[in-house]
């Protein structure tokens, strides 16, 4: 574990920018748990969608070192400024773009990104709260908290390279097993790296990667119009353990 990431300082803040909280910490814990794999992976281009305070992209840059190139986006103009200050205070760099998800990058960056990290606005809210300006954009997720997640997933699929990995925060209310199944249909395997119960939330950090076996299954599913039973078993086996983790902060695998 890199000692430097434990020392990320909140050097900058803004009343309209989401400050790092349990969900951000869980995502960084997942990246740290996967650090050895990430270092072997040697990602050239890394991207954070929705960088908020900059806690996660700064941590990723510190975990991976200066070998790669980092890009971070946020729809909130205050957030990209705060992220810039957080990065600078820790001596790392990411290119910042004030945009909605990856709008403007999707054509030229398609298939080039080796690592995407996302802590999406996952909180179930009325639909009309989605897409509001300011700090609400950091949490308002619409019905089941899925409004923005469901927009992010096809964008991530388009941007990820052949060896690309996606790390995403979900809430149990988002129906993560269904998300994994949807991604499976696009040819991705998935694994829960961290599960965490806080006072208010039950969070998962899920890693997705393109998987040759699942691409075969994708064909199988298309041909048979059914999900192979082994896929369902493998997905479901990851989820029902949640209640036993209460009081146990994380479960890295």
């Amino acid at each position: 574990m890199s000692p430097r990431t434990a020392q990320i300082r909140l050097v900058s803040s803004h009343r309209e920018v989401y400050e790092p909280c349990d969900d951000s910490f869980a995502l960084v814990d997942a990246l740290l748990a996967d650090q050895a794999n990430l270092l072997r992976h040697q990602p050239k281009l890394c991207l954070e969608l929705g960088c908020g305070s900059g806690y996660v992209i700064t941590s990723l840059a510190l975990i991976l070192g200066k070998e790669g190139h980092y890009i971070a986006t946020d729809i909130n103009p205050h957030a990209v400024r705060v992220t810039q200050e957080t990065l600078e205070a820790h001596g790392v760099h990411a290119e910042l773009i004030n945009t909605n998800i990856a709008s403007g990058l999707e054509t030229r960056l398609a298939g080039l990104v080796d690592v995407i990290v996302v802590n999406p606005p996952y909180v179930p809210t009325p639909e009309d709260e989605v897409g509001r300006e300011g700090i609400a954009s950091a949490w308002a997720g619409g019905e089941n908290g899925r409004a923005v997640i469901d927009k992010i997933l096809p964008v991530a699929d388009n941007l990820l390279s052949e060896k690309g990995w996606l790390y995403m925060v979900t809430l149990s209310e988002n129906n993560p097993s269904e998300i994994c199944l949807q991604m499976r249909e696009k040819g991705y395997a998935s694994r829960i790296l961290v599960q965490r119960l806080t006072d208010e939330e039950s969070l998962q950090i899920i890693k997705f990667w393109r998987d040759f076996d699942s691409q075969l299954e994708e064909k199988e599913m298309a041909e048979n119009k059914t999900v192979p039973s082994r896929v369902m078993e493998s997905l479901l086996s990851q989820f029902p353990r949640m209640p036993f983790l209460r009081g146990n902060n994380s479960n890295s695998s």
């Binding site: 050239k44 200066k66 070998e67 790669g68 190139h69 890009i71 729809i75 103009p77 990209v80 400024r81 810039q84 760099h93 290119e95 910042l96 773009i97 004030n98 945009t99 909605n100 709008s103 403007g104 990058l105 999707e106 054509t107 030229r108 960056l109 080039l112």
Partner: protein
């Protein structure tokens, strides 16, 4: 904003079919030194739209990149140094990116491009 980002950005306005490359309006350009990483440059080279990089770096006041280039150039330290400088060290601090099709300006302030669209552009 580094020119690597410029090379990866297109106009995202609805209906625009020819949104790349964005024209640069440079008000303030700074040079920020970055460690040379040959492996990264060699990996990125095939992904770069060369003409867009040449044009952008010229607009930023750097005219050392050759118009035409082939992969064998990557064996030259002198070329790598120039490619590195244009791609990663030239920073557009203040200015704008202009959609080549519609002329819409995307402002760049404190090094950060604002690609947010108005409601009628989405």
């Amino acid at each position: 904003m580094r020119l690597l980002s410029h090379n990866m950005l297109s106009s995202n306005i609805k209906g625009v079919t020819n949104g790349f490359p964005l024209r640069i309006e440079a008000e303030k350009v700074v040079v920020k030194q970055v460690d040379l990483n040959v492996r990264f440059l060699k990996n990125m080279f095939p992904k770069i739209e060369w003409k867009a990089l040449v044009e952008a770096s010229r607009t930023m006041g750097y005219a050392e990149l050759p118009e035409e280039v082939e992969p064998s150039k990557l064996d030259s330290r002198d070329f790598l140094q120039k490619f590195h400088h244009a791609l990663l060290e030239l920073v557009l601090e203040e200015g704008a990116l202009v959609c080549p099709e519609t002329g819409r300006r995307f402002p760049v302030s404190k090094g950060i491009p604002n690609m947010l669209l108005h409601e009628d552009e989405v």
